[in-house]
């Protein structure tokens, strides 16, 4: 029978190296993608997501099962992303976030368009998604994290509140304002 994340975390707290390897295997892709979406930089995403796993290893004993493991782990990851952005804020002003497909023409900008949509719709969708990345970079870290946790990880407002250490109502406000800001930024382009 497959161990739950919560059980694996208990084993990691006992310094079970195999449990840690298995946990990394389960979460590395999601952690990396979420960090990349929040940070807008893949090299930083690799570093920060690895740091989150190290933090997980070091503090696994502190996981008290009051929330889901994923919520607890995302809290570690998102906090590290926000801290990283704060520390590098001055540098980010000088070097804007990389936008795949724009900064590097060889890099894939968006996912392959759906086969159901026509070529015009595909082009419009591709365009709107390519404009989303730089717009996302302009949101506050909390707004960006709230939106990405909701859309990419499927977290509820209550869970987003747990990750961001705020109330459910505040999490809803982050999501609402983030969406409103994105709409405004994209319509101004």
């Amino acid at each position: 029978m497959e161990l739950s994340d919560e059980d694996l975390c208990s084993r990691i707290a006992e310094r079970d190296a195999d449990a840690f390897e298995l946990m990394v295997d389960r979460h590395q892709a999601r952690a990396y993608r979420l960090a990349a979406s929040i940070l807008g930089n893949e090299a930083d995403a690799r570093d920060v997501s690895q740091d989150a796993f190290i933090r997980l290893y070091e503090s696994a004993a502190q996981f008290d099962r009051r929330s889901r493991f994923s919520t607890w782990f995302y809290r570690i990851l998102v906090n590290l992303c926000i801290d990283h952005q704060r520390k590098n804020r001055w540098w980010k002003r000088l070097s804007p976030l990389a936008t795949p497909g724009i900064d590097d023409p060889d890099e894939r900008a968006v996912d392959p368009p759906s086969s159901e949509a026509g070529p015009e719709e595909d082009a419009m969708l591709k365009q709107s998604i390519s404009r989303l990345r730089p717009a996302l970079a302009k949101l506050s870290p909390q707004q960006r994290a709230a939106l990405l946790l909701q859309t990419q990880e499927g977290l509820t407002s209550r869970e987003i509140g747990e990750v961001l250490k705020c109330s459910e109502a505040t999490a809803r406000v982050h999501v609402h304002r983030g969406i409103a800001q994105l709409r405004k930024l994209i319509s101004n382009d």
């Binding site: 690895q50 894939r108 968006v110 990345r133 990405l148 407002s157 809803r172």
Partner: protein
């Protein structure tokens, strides 16, 4: 009268996060508010596009990623022990015995004297002979240091919290001062 639009509840409504009561209230509002319906549609489209942004992220070589992670984990464990060791050494070092702080005070005074002496020496090198004012200043500073040294037997018995206060008023420990005969507790 201003209408209260349930702006922050529109997305939770679309995602089915609201309670039955909230859902009924927001649903009734949406039925009669074109502005909120338009906002809900636009938000829904935006969320759908946001979910696709992640697909633009290229994945790293996971074998390299794991190898880096293992190396970082090993590095984080080894230096943290030695850093903790160093920190413990520093803390223990700060927990000085009773004679430690006076010794440090004496050391600081000696460094100050040395610094003044160097400055004075440089001043002497640039001129033929020190002026009367310079000699007086030098004498005054030296006598202050001698006072500190002369009262070393008092200083070495001081508790930590008394040190600065007593050293500050060390000049009052002259032979005519009755407090000079008191023994610090």
């Amino acid at each position: 009268m201003a209408t209260n639009h349930p702006e922050t509840e529109l997305i939770p409504y679309l995602r089915g996060e609201l309670s039955a009561d909230e859902r009924a209230r927001v649903g009734a509002h949406l039925a009669g508010c074109a502005q909120c319906r338009e906002s809900a549609d636009a938000s829904s489209a935006m969320l759908s596009n946001l979910a696709r942004v992640v697909d633009g992220v290229s994945e790293p070589d996971w074998a390299v990623y794991r190898s880096e992670l293992r190396r970082k984990l090993r590095a984080s464990q080894v230096p943290s022990a030695s850093v903790r060791g160093r920190w413990r050494w520093r803390r223990e070092d700060l927990r000085l015995p009773a004679f430690g702080w006076p010794s440090m005070a004496m050391g600081a005074a000696a460094v100050a004297v040395l610094a003044i002496a160097i400055v004075m020496h440089r001043g002497a090198g640039s001129a033929q002979a020190p002026s009367v004012d310079q000699l007086e200043l030098q004498q005054e500073l030296s006598s202050a240091d001698v006072g500190l040294l002369a009262n070393y037997h008092v200083v070495e018995h001081l508790d930590l919290l008394e040190n600065y206060d007593v050293i500050e008023h060390l000049d009052e420990l002259g032979p005519g001062n009755p407090r000079n005969n008191e023994t610090p507790s």
